[in-house]
């Protein structure tokens, strides 16, 4: 009896090739495209989430000779991902909705659908690898997407197949051509967040919370000492480390170094003020047995950042604190802190804050 796998298909090249590879390997493949938002004609050029993408996924499945379904996960996605996204901005943070989509939508809700059709496996087009129940970085450092996968429940690893994670993007495209999947072989990579048209997240916040919501209302630019140095049109338009839209006229370039939602203040400062020696994260999820306090760990505070060395200095419930060996720039609340050991993803959490001074090491 061939083992059944539910493949999450966006209509893009990675998930299409993932499905094709699994068919070739002899799995009983069932394709599914998640409907996460409105499929109107408003986003015709978007690489994913458009009606055209659903149709592409369906046609690829037809070509592969496997069934395809469109699953309506709109309500849960709205609750778990979109609502959290706008609320995080309201809290002065910079969320990564893709992490929550992976955690809750793909590898929880979609997994329930897999259960309903007796699928032993669930597969996606992510560039990451699972070996013996352990999550590893994608083999291609240019495409590695493991940063976005730290939140999935550990038992799910045993059911995950990530067929493209062991190859480069050009290799994936070559397979698409070799298998005759010309429909999608040269599709551009998706860049933006699927529910944020034109990368303009303020539009989504305005739609969900109203255009006059505090995070989109005027507020002051201030220095660390509280000096007001200008006015901005909404702190949700800023993220830590940002230069664009920050007032000029200072001796050195100025960056956003903190957002203070209570006063709507965007704190700016020179590059030195961006440096953090420690980082606190919450909602921590371990994909391996939790390491003890004092463990040396590699950490990554944003996608594609070079891993930094640190020490796990504190654990308190689902919160952890890492002391960094060398200062890291622009540690941003709301982004993910992902913990690695070489290629192995140990776990991760949502960044709560950075520490400018070195945290005190626990005994």
């Amino acid at each position: 009896m061939r083992e059944r796998v539910l493949v999450a298909m966006s209509g893009g090249v990675d998930s299409s090739v993932a499905a094709a590879m699994l068919v070739r390997e002899g799995y009983d493949v069932v394709g599914a495209t998640m409907k996460l938002g409105c499929h109107g004609d408003e986003l015709p050029d978007r690489p994913c989430c458009s009606l055209e993408s659903v149709n592409d996924a369906r046609r690829i499945c037809d070509q592969l000779g496997v069934p395809h379904y469109v699953l309506n996960l709109e309500t849960a996605f709205g609750r778990d991902v979109v609502t959290d996204f706008v609320e995080e901005y309201a809290r002065g943070r910079t969320p990564i909705p893709c992490v929550r989509c992976n955690t809750f939508t793909k590898f929880r809700d979609l997994l329930h659908k897999a259960d309903a059709i007796d699928a032993r496996w669930i597969a996606t087009g992510h560039y990451a690898r699972v070996r013996d129940g352990v999550l590893h970085r994608g083999l291609d450092p240019a495409k590695d997407q493991s940063y976005f996968l730290w939140g999935i429940a550990r038992p799910v690893l045993a059911r995950m197949l990530l067929p493209v994670g062991g190859q480069t993007k050009p290799e994936t495209r070559a397979i698409a051509h070799a298998l005759g999947l010309e429909l999608i072989a040269e599709k551009p990579d998706s860049q933006d967040i699927c529910f944020v048209p034109d990368g303009d997240h303020a539009k989504v916040i305005a739609r969900e919370l109203g255009a006059d919501t505090p995070s989109l209302s005027r507020g002051p630019f201030v220095r660390r000492d509280g000096t007001v140095v200008g006015e901005h049109t909404g702190y949700a338009r800023f993220t830590v480390g940002q230069r664009r839209g920050v007032p000029g006229g200072f001796r050195e370039p100025m960056y956003v170094v903190e957002i203070q939602p209570a006063t709507r203040a965007v704190v700016i400062g020179p590059r030195a003020e961006l440096l953090g020696k420690g980082v606190v994260a919450r909602e921590v999820n371990w994909l391996v047995p939790a390491p003890p306090v004092g463990s040396e760990i590699e950490v990554q505070v944003r996608h594609r950042a070079r891993p930094a060395r640190g020490t796990l200095v504190h654990v308190d419930g689902d919160a952890i604190e890492i002391a960094l060996e060398e200062a890291v720039s622009a540690i941003t609340p709301g982004q993910s802190l992902v913990l690695y050991d070489g290629s192995i993803v140990l776990g991760g959490g949502v960044i709560e804050r950075s520490r400018r001074a070195l945290p005190v090491r626990a005994a």
């Binding site: 069932v30 369906r58 379904y69 699953l71 309506n72 309903a116 059709i117």
Partner: protein, 385 residues
Amino acid sequence: MPDFVYLDHAATTPVRPEVLEVMQPFFGPRFGNPSSMHRWGREARTALDEARERLARALGAASDEVVFTSCGTEADNMALLGVWRARSASGRRAVVTTPIEHKAVLAAVHQIGREGGEERLVGMQSSGLVDDESFDALISDDVAVCSVIWVNNEIGVLQDVSSLAKRANARGVVFHTDAVQAFGKVEVDARITPFDVLSISGHKIGAPKGIGALFVRRGTAIEPLMFGGTQDRGRRPGTENVAMAVGLARAAELAVIERVHEWAALEIRRDRLEAALLSCIPDAVIHGRGIPRAPHIMNISVPGVDSESMLMALDLRGIACSAGSACQSGSITASHVLRAIGVSPDLASSAIRMSLGSMTTDACIERVVEVFPTLVAKARRLTPA
């Protein structure tokens, strides 16, 4: 046991061999345009006129009361928009319909709203029947047209069209009924039932997709939706689809001949299916049960079992059913019909429609009775109560 079970006849049916046969010549030697004066044209025109007469006879109508359309949706649109546009200038600016109509009617009613008309929705009983008091209150002398679906396409509930049509007529309101699911099941005869306008669709009764028809009683004012030549007295310009008109006429004749026997045969199988499923799943709810229903549609909700997963699981076992209404992407949204008759969102989101027809054998029923409860039991193990 059959490997594949098609229980979605309310979505569409295969073209009947008898229908395909009579259409065939019109894709070949008898290709003429009915508007041409030469022999090819005459031949096509004769075939078209004959098809119109035969369809009219099947509806208890005169042939000038039959308009061929491209589908049921076009027929519904023409009925609503055509009649409203013809009558609204004289002060009848309102339109009355039910919230359980097919989208083809509801969307046409919204279009009337955009064109300045007043939309009125009749209240429904929880059984799925029109609330008579509400209907009578809304049908006043400022209403141009009202529309009530004869057999609901999701739950099969049968409205008392005869009584509703009489009450509408008494107030000078044009009465339209969407009979897309009714035709071939209930007696549709314009000499017996006083509807003014009625829509049917070919592909629900063994004719191809792409043909429908509208009955328009003599004397009913109606505007065309399209403008062009004088085909069909100018009511429906565009070169007629002769082959499909011939096919629709044949399918309609067969449907009328077989109607009584078909009803009985479908009813027996549906009742057996319902009884078997209810005995295995005692808390299942069959919508419209105990209410006058057409025999080919059964809509079942199993509390706590979401229809999307269930439909996938059924399809992977070779059983084709449907749920709610599919959106453009193909995903399912909870049924507006069930919501309109007060079914809870949870129960509505677990609704599955099984619709029986020409491809339904006793073995099909047995197969579903075997598979469906197993899938339900499994779904319930996965979903902690």
